[in-house]
């Protein structure tokens, strides 16, 4: 098994674990962590694609690396926003739950 295949499989496992966590766990904080695991898997897969130099034919392809860095920034910003929302929610309600009944409340202007 080549290194690229090994890393690719690792990425696939991370994506599976992250996706499972994001869908199954009810707590927002766990979902946020799962999102980051999932994102890590995607970036790893992208990195493996860069290592293969797919399409371009040389040893390492710099384009996916640039894309990964942009993706990391986006994922970081998303995590920060989600964490800020969780903190605000905890301050106001004392719990962090996004349970189903939330949608049934009054709709304000």
């Amino acid at each position: 098994m080549s290194t690229a295949t090994l890393f690719g499989l690792c990425g696939a496992v991370l994506i599976g674990v992250g996706l499972y966590g994001l869908i199954v766990h009810p707590q927002p904080l766990r979902k946020i962590v799962a999102f980051n695991v999932l994102g890590g898997g995607v970036f790893l897969v992208f990195g493996v694609i860069a290592r293969r130099g797919a399409g371009a034919g040389f040893g390492g392809d710099p384009v996916p690396q640039a894309l990964i860095i942009t993706g990391l920034v986006v994922a970081f910003a998303a995590t920060a926003l989600a964490a800020a929302l969780v903190v605000q929610l905890a301050r106001r309600t004392g719990t962090v739950s996004i349970a189903e009944d939330a949608g049934a409340r009054e709709s304000p202007p």
Binding site: F35, L38, V42, V45, A56
Partner: protein, 499 residues
Amino acid sequence: MSVAAPTPGGVLLAFALFVPVAGLLVAMLAGGRRSEQVAMAVMPLTFAASAAAAWRVVAHAAPLEYHLGGWAPPLGIALRADGLSAIMMLMTAVVMVVTAVYARADFRTAPGAPETRGPFTFWLLLIGLWAAMNAVFLASDLFTLFVAMELLTFAAVPMVCLDGRSEQLTAALRYLLFALLGSVLYLLGAALLYGVYGTLDIALLAARMDGAPTALVACSLMTAGLAAKTALFPLHLWLPPAHAGAPAAASAVLSALVVKGSFFITLRLWFDVMPRDVGLAAAQILAALGAAAIIVGSAVALRQARLKMLIAYSTVAQIGYLFLMFPLAYSAEHGGLTGGAALAGGAMQAVSHAFAKAGMFMAAGLLYAALGHDRIADLAGAGRALPMSVIAFALGGISLVGLPPSGGFVAKWLLLSAAVESGQWWWALVIAVGGLLAGGYVFGVVMRALALPPAPLVLQAAIPRRREAAALALSLVAALLGMTALLPIDVVHIGRGSP
């Protein structure tokens, strides 16, 4: 299709993107007291750039193209506006400007009053949303589309919780989690496509697409991710609390524009990236989900006790219509999705829903402000107290139902004729039933609003005429948009290879 050269006038596209982003930065530095003034200065400029770009595309019947920094794709980033982008940019520009007129009363900092977070955030987010929408419409590669889509999400989620109440925070968090799942699936699909074809440029990808299994997996992942962001049934659960809970001006742009952003990317993906490889079966799945959205969304809307929740569920249903176009645009002789009546119908549906829904949410916000509640059962007398708002709601509703001469009528007519022409009569049935259900919930509200109140109505607040006029203007556009079908130009297909 190969990489196109920059066209004269392409710099207009850069302005449509650069002006709101620059405005965002200036407004951030200027602080809460001046963010409204900055927005008032930036929005007309952005409107002018968007309208000029759209006009050039239509007048020359050719797409505009601009290469940032003079670097050609695939290494550089190109901005490209075809007919579809032009329509969407114009739609966004009109809804944004009218929303700003409407929102000034809600998000104003009086001279001398202490600076508050609400107005500051709202105006920043509104300009940011516009920049992100334009980026979505102009991007010409899948990664720029990803970044644009993320900008859109980051601007839209805080719009949901502007007042900071706990149920708004819950709705915003759910929205964000759905959106994040969507974006990471999209990114994974993009990575796989890059792995197979070595490019993310839409034109280059379309030329290299060969139906490899990896490409199909990639496109499925991206479509699933985009469906979560567009709130396609059964991934719609985040939408009603998020859109109904936001302040009215925010609800209007969220429901009218933001869901169209991820839908537009779905269109790009299905029509431009994989035109030859998509099977009719895959398109039928999308349409089946759309049909379920129409039926379930409309049925749940009928049972809502509150006006804003009703409008939000109606958005779920109307999004369903957008997805009906995919199998209807399938052409057996081309072996893939082509434009034609189905694409024109889908575009018309997106635009007319944007105007109608923005007008309806604004009207609902005014009714709430005047009556102090939005319980549909207690709306009696509203028709006399706020006639313009009730008319705005009704005119928007006419477009949702699909009565002539509204945009919704032309959209449904085009989709119906495409369904009959391609022998897929079952979608015609769904369109008809959806129209009936929409008639039920719209006229249910209008009838109650026109009824005589048991006791004279005491208004909680005086509603300025200007705000009612803003809502009415948008609804009126939706109700008369069908007239554009008489124009002798075929804007939707500008810049598309085969009709």
